[in-house]
Symmetry: C2
Subunit: 215 residues, 2 copies
DNA sequence: GTCTATAATCGGATAGAC
DNA sequence: GTCTATCCGATTATAGAC
């Protein structure tokens, strides 16, 4: 008994092409704006054929969304609470910037889903995401108590991190327009990545106490 | 000869209702996802009737978009280059936070438009917005030369400001979920507003030189 | 298992009634 | 000037062919 039967090459290829096409269409125009015809066109499969592999547009969307949530979770776990705030924050922010670079479509789909009221991930937001926030608020509070960072509202910090890092994915069109019309090169992105880390870290982490000049 | 003939009350009321409904629908599902039927439904006018007041869906969208751009410009001009960086930045960030609070739909429509590749505001981005950025990069560079702020890439700073402030509009659903399911109250928002200003200012503005303990 | 012809519905827009 | 019946193309989905 084979739990995971090997898919035919045709099926595997078609499903992969459809999922990739779906990701790009959903990222551009959201769930409501997407049409199965456009997805099929980009996947280069006959329009009606798509429904053989994925019964409904909603099924397709759910699968694409699920992958986004999975990726989010992997990044979320990269924030190591046992490190010093500067290290933990730098790693997490850097990881989120990497995600915006390598998987911008996922970020855009997330944004679209939130803007329409998050009908399909409401539960994820209220459970998994909420718990991550609650858990890490405690960490930030401890950093504050230990005098390592300024007294800030933890949520405001998380929102700033999410907003700024995801901006490089969600608003890449606007960023390109500010960059003379071309998307950021690898070098330009790396500079931005370091800048974002540096600014956000400085926004909360106290500088090391300056050694008294005399004593 | 009357340049601006007074609109009948019926026309004025219907147009206003349709525009308000259009704004909310476009904010939720973007241009592509919006349907004239849904807009008409929310405006409480017969579906096909909408087309009497606004010829096409695109016309309606352009008008709504235009208002968003106008508001953006008014906020943009609130950054006074002659002030000290802390004052200028605080005012601009505060103004952007106010906009996110009072006109969240406009922010969401902007985000949607950017995510689909900005077909209708490409020109605005490449001219007006690009010029604002170029002009203000010079200001930030001067602040750096004057030793008032840390050496940061000006664009990275602008993006952080836009991203963080607009996050409170674009991701209000997610923020509400983190807030126990309820949107931020006026008090909670005011706290967030102050936190955002404080963090972003600290991310770039150098603290006043500490007076030497002894000398 | 894979794919296509076609049904059923919804969408944007208009011609013409009031 | 205001509004409605209606057209036509687009869209989702399926029944059934290969």
């Amino acid at each position: 008994m084979q739990v995971k039967p090997p898919k035919t090459s045709i099926r595997a290829d078609n499903e992969a092409a459809i999922l990739a096409a779906a990701e790009s269409v959903f990222a551009e125009v959201g769930f409501k704006g997407a049409t199965t015809s456009e997805i099929a066109r980009r996947a280069d499969v006959p329009k009606a054929n798509l429904h053989y592999y994925f019964a409904t547009k909603e099924d397709l969307y759910r699968i694409v969304l699920q992958r986004v949530l999975t990726v989010w979770l992997s990044a979320a776990s990269s924030m190591d609470d046992n490190e010093e705030p500067e290290v933990a924050l730098s790693r997490y922010i850097g990881m989120k910037m990497d995600l915006s670079r390598t998987m911008p479509l996922g970020s855009q789909i997330w944004a679209s889903e939130i803007m329409r009221g998050a009908p399909m991930i409401k539960d994820f937001l209220e459970t998994t995401l909420k718990e991550w926030v609650s858990d890490h608020e405690i960490v930030v509070q401890r950093w504050i108590s230990d005098g390592k960072i300024y007294p800030v509202a933890p949520k405001a910090l998380f929102f700033m991190i999410w907003a700024t890092t995801q901006h490089y994915a969600d608003f890449s069109t606007q960023i390109a327009a500010m960059n003379g019309g071309a998307p950021l090169s690898d070098e330009e992105f790396e500079t931005a990545r370091l800048q974002v880390i540096e600014m956000i870290v400085r926004s909360v982490v106290k500088p090391p106490a300056a050694p008294a000049k005399t004593l």
